[in-house]
C-alpha cells in the first residue's frame, strides 16, 4: 500500500513539475512561424556563392540621416518582431568587458558611441552621440560636439559629464587596451563639447571611438549599480536602439525598441536573441523558421541551406585571418631561415581551406584581411612545392626529418585546418606531434609563455584598418602578456616601419609601409598567413536591410520586414 502511494506521489510530482515549467517561455516563436508559412515565393538563390567581402575603403557620400525609420516606414509589413540566434551567450553586455563578438553585438544594440558607422558601409563614419567633430593641432586633438537632445533609456539626459565618465571607464577595460594607449587626456570644452588629446596623430581614431567598447554610459546609473551591488554587466541603461527587457541566463535575451533613438525609430520593435549552442541546430531552426536570423552557421551546412526556399545565406568575409606561427625565440626555428622556408613550401593553402573549412573562406597569403585598409591584392606567397620543401629541410640541417610539436585549441575551426597542415608537413618529412589543448592552456602556453614549436591561430581586426592587428603581431613590445606577437619577433627595422605607418596621416605612405612589411614577412617567413574565413549568416528572405558586416556587429535597428 505505502509503496504504490509513494510511487504515485513521485509520479504526480514529476508530471506537475513538467507542466508547470513548460508553459511560459515558449511563446515567442509563434509570431515568427506564422508569416513565412504562407509565402512560398522563392527568393532567387544564386547557385554559386557571392563573395561578399564588402568592407572596402571607399569613402562614400552616404547620407547620415537615412536610417531605419526613413527606409522602413513606407514598405514595412505589420510584422515587427525578430528572433535571432547565436551560438555563444554573452557573459556581460557592458562596454569593453566581454571579448566575444556576440557580447559586443548586444552591447552596440543597447549603447551608442560618440561616432557611429554607416549601416551600408562600415568604413564610413556617421555622427553618433556627437553631432560633428573637428581635428585640430595636426590631428592630435579631437573636438566632439555633443548632441543635447539625447536621453538614456531611463529618461535622464545625456551630458558632457557622462561622456567624460565613459572615457574614464572605457580606458580601464582590458579590451580597450589598444585604444586606451592612444588617448592621452580628455576634458570638457566650451559649448557642450568634449576635447580629446591623443598621444600622436592616429588616422583610425574615429574607428576606435566607434567601437562598442567605447560606448557612452550613464554616470549616475553606473554609480547606482556600484552602490547597490547590481551586476553592471547584466543590466543596461544606454542610449541605443534597444532596451534590455529580460535576460534569461542560458536561454535568451529579450529586447524592445527605444522609440526615441537619436538615429530614428527602429522598425523592428521586439528582438529576442536565443542561445543555440549547436551550430547545426541553429541552421535547422532557421530552416524551420523557428528563428529568423542565425549567426554562427557552420560551413558544413552552407551548401544544404542554400537550397532552402525562403532563406538567404550570406558568406561574409570575417575579420579574422588564420595563420600558422613558428616560434622565433627558440630552436629549431630561431635563426634557421631554411627551415622556415621548408614549412612555407610544404603548405598547400587551397587544401587547408578545403579540408579544414569546407572551402568556405578566401586564401589570403598576405598579412592583412581582405577589404581592410592596407590589403595588398595579388600578393604571391611561396608556391606549394613539396620537393623544394624537402630540399630546404635538408639544407636546414635535418635531412632525416625533425620532430616538432604543433599546438592548437580545440575549436573545430582551428584544429581542422591544423590537422591538414600537419599532414602536409608530415609528407615532406617533419615528424609532427599535434597537441589539441583547451583554450586556457593553449593561450597560456603559446601566447604568454611562447612554449611551442608551431601553433595555429587567428587574428581579429575590430575595424577595417590593419594597424591594430599588424602592430600587435609584429611589434616587439607585444610579446607575451596576453598580446599578439606570438612568434616573438623582435626586429627594430620592423618596429620602425610599424611606427611610421601608424603615425603617418598620408594614406599612400601608410600603404607603402604595409606593403614593405608584407614583403619582409614573406622573405623571412616569420608568420605564414593562410586564409580568411567566412562567417556565413542565414536569415529569412523577407528580412530586408541586412548588410554583411565583417565584425559581426549586426543591429536590427536597420532591418525591416518586407
Amino acid at each position: 500500500m505505502k509503496k504504490s502511494l509513494s510511487l504515485l506521489l513521485a509520479l504526480a510530482l514529476a508530471v506537475s513539475s513538467l507542466t508547470a515549467c513548460g508553459g511560459g517561455s515558449g511563446s515567442g516563436s509563434t509570431t515568427a512561424a506564422a508569416a513565412p508559412a504562407e509565402t512560398k515565393a522563392a527568393e532567387t538563390q544564386s547557385a554559386t556563392l557571392p563573395d561578399i567581402g564588402k568592407v572596402e575603403t571607399a569613402a562614400a557620400g552616404a547620407e547620415v540621416a537615412a536610417e531605419a525609420s526613413g527606409k522602413g516606414a513606407a514598405e514595412t509589413s505589420s510584422k515587427d518582431s525578430l528572433i535571432m540566434g547565436y551560438t555563444k551567450e554573452p557573459d556581460s553586455i557592458s562596454p569593453g568587458t566581454d571579448s566575444k563578438t556576440n557580447a559586443q553585438m548586444v552591447c552596440q544594440m543597447c549603447y551608442d558611441a560618440l561616432v557611429g558607422k554607416d549601416p551600408e558601409n562600415q568604413s564610413v563614419m556617421v555622427p553618433g552621440i556627437a553631432s560633428s567633430w573637428d581635428f585640430e593641432d595636426d590631428g592630435t586633438t579631437l573636438v566632439f560636439h555633443i548632441r543635447d537632445d539625447i536621453k538614456f533609456h531611463d529618461g535622464t539626459p545625456l551630458t558632457v559629464e557622462d561622456v567624460l565618465f565613459s572615457l574614464d571607464y572605457a580606458v580601464q577595460q582590458g579590451l580597450n587596451a589598444a585604444g586606451a594607449s592612444i588617448l592621452k587626456s580628455w576634458e570638457a570644452g566650451d559649448d557642450n563639447t568634449v576635447v580629446i588629446h591623443l598621444e600622436y596623430a592616429y588616422k583610425p581614431i574615429l574607428q576606435i571611438l566607434a567601437m562598442p567598447g567605447f560606448s557612452i554610459i550613464s554616470k549616475a546609473f553606473y554609480e547606482k549599480c556600484e552602490a547597490e551591488g547590481t551586476n553592471f554587466g547584466q543590466v543596461e541603461n544606454g542610449t541605443g536602439a534597444y532596451i534590455l527587457e529580460r535576460w534569461t541566463q542560458g536561454d535568451r535575451i529579450v529586447l524592445k525598441a527605444y522609440d526615441d533613438w537619436h538615429r530614428g525609430t527602429p522598425a523592428i520593435k521586439h528582438v529576442e536573441i536565443v542561445t543555440i549552442p549547436d551550430e547545426t541546430s541553429g541552421a535547422l531552426m532557421a530552416e524551420n523558421h523557428e528563428i529568423d536570423f542565425f549567426i554562427g552557421m557552420n560551413s558544413a551546412d552552407v551548401d544544404r541551406m542554400m537550397q532552402v526556399d525562403g532563406l538567404t545565406i550570406l558568406n561574409v568575409v570575417s575579420a579574422g585571418t588564420h595563420l600558422a606561427a613558428m616560434n622565433l625565440t627558440r630552436e629549431p626555428f630561431k635563426d634557421n631561415l631554411a627551415l622556415r622556408e621548408a614549412v612555407a613550401y610544404a603548405m598547400n593553402r587551397d587544401e587547408i581551406l578545403e579540408g579544414g573549412m569546407n572551402g568556405y573562406g578566401k586564401v589570403t597569403p598576405g598579412p592583412v584581411t581582405p577589404g581592410y585598409f592596407g590589403f595588398v591584392e595579388d600578393f604571391e606567397p611561396y608556391p606549394y612545392d613539396p620537393e623544394k620543401a624537402k630540399e630546404k629541410l635538408a639544407e636546414a640541417g635535418y635531412p632525416d626529418g625533425l620532430h616538432i610539436v604543433f599546438k592548437t585549441p580545440s575549436d573545430s575551426w582551428y584544429c581542422n585546418p591544423s590537422q591538414v597542415l600537419c599532414e602536409q608537413l608530415r609528407k615532406v618529412g617533419f615528424d609532427v606531434e599535434i597537441q589539441i589543448q583547451e583554450r586556457a592552456t593553449y593561450l597560456q602556453e603559446c601566447q604568454n609563455n611562447l612554449d611551442y614549436d608551431m601553433c595555429w591561430y587567428m587574428t581579429w581586426g575590430d575595424f577595417p584598418d590593419c594597424d591594430p592587428p599588424m602592430w600587435t603581431k609584429f611589434h616587439s613590445s607585444c610579446i607575451g602578456q596576453n598580446m599578439g606577437n606570438w612568434g616573438g619577433l623582435n626586429d627594430p627595422e620592423v618596429d620602425a616601419l610599424l611606427l611610421k605607418a601608424r603615425t603617418s596621416i598620408d594614406d599612400e605612405e601608410r600603404i607603402a609601409c604595409y606593403k614593405e612589411l608584407a614583403e619582409m614577412n614573406k622573405e623571412n617567413c616569420w608568420y605564414l598567413f593562410v586564409f580568411t574565413s567566412y562567417n556565413p549568416i542565414c536569415f529569412d528572405s523577407h528580412l530586408k536591410g541586412v548588410v554583411p558586416i565583417t565584425s559581426v556587429l549586426y543591429n536590427p535597428a536597420f532591418f525591416y520586414w518586407e
Binding site: T280, D301, E354, G355, Q419, V420, E423, A440, T441
Partner: protein, 298 residues
Amino acid sequence: MAEYMKAIEEAAEPKRRSQIGAIWFRFRKNKLALMGLIIFVTLGLVALTAPLYLDFEKDVIEQTISQRFKGPSAEHFFGTDQFGRDIFKRIIWGARTSMFVGMGIVAVSMTGGIIFGSLAGYYDGSVLDNVLMRLCDMFLAIPGTLLAIALVSVSGNNIPNLILALGVSTMPKMARLVRASVLSIKNQEYIEAARSCGTSDRRIIISEILPNAIGPIIVEATLSVARGIISIASMSFIGLGIQPPNPEWGAMLSEAKVQMINHPYLVVAPGIAIVLTVMSLTLIGDGLRDALDPKMKN
C-alpha cells in the same frame, strides 16, 4: 610448523585447479556469454594483427582532400571522412586504441582499488578504513566525467594522463567492491586459522583472502573495460581524449556530429563498433558472474 603450512597449501591447490575448470564449464554452457567471448576475441585479433595488413601512414592517417566525404563503396567500405581517410580502416585501428586504453584504465583502477580496498576491508572499522572510505565518498560525489575532465586539464592531453585520470576516477568503485569482498571472506574460519598460526597480515591478505575474492573482482574488471571504452569515447567526443591523427571511435563521432545531416553514414560505423565491443565485454562479464556463482539461479 613449516610442513604443516605446506600441507595446507598442497591441499588447497588441486581444489583451485578444478575450480577453474568448473568455472569454464559453466561459462561455456551459457550461450550468450560464449557468443560475447567469440566476438570479443575476434575483434581483439583483428585489432592486434592490424599492423600486419594495414600501414599506419598510408592507410590510416594519410589525407586525400580530393576524396572527402565519399559514401560507402567497394573501395571504402564505410566511406571516407572529412580528410579523405578510409573510415573502415580507421575503425579497425581505433579498436587497438580503445582496447589498449580500456585495459590500461582497468589496470590502474584495479591496482589502486585492490590495495586500498583490501586494506580498508581487512582493517575494517579502523581509522584507516574510515579515512579511505571517506575519501572514496568524496571522489564518488564528484560526477565521474567532470573529475576526468578536470584531471586531464591539469595534466595535459596525452594517453598516459588519460589512462591515469580515468583510472583514478573509477578507482573508488573498485575499492568499495574489493572491500566488500574482503569483508565477507575475512571472518571465515580458515582465515582465523592462518592468523592463529602467526601468519603476517600481509601474507594473509595476499595469499588467502585475495585469491578467494578474485571472482567478483574479475567480473568487475571486465565490465570496467567496457565502461572504460565508453568513457574514452566520451572524453574524445568532448575533445579531450586521443589526439589526432590517431583514430578513436569517440573522436570520429565528434567529427561526424557536424556533418550529421549532410553525411549521416559517418555516425553509424564508429557507434556500431563501440556497441559491439562493449556488448561482447558485457556478455563476458555477466557470463563470468553467473559461472562464478555456485548457486546459479536459472
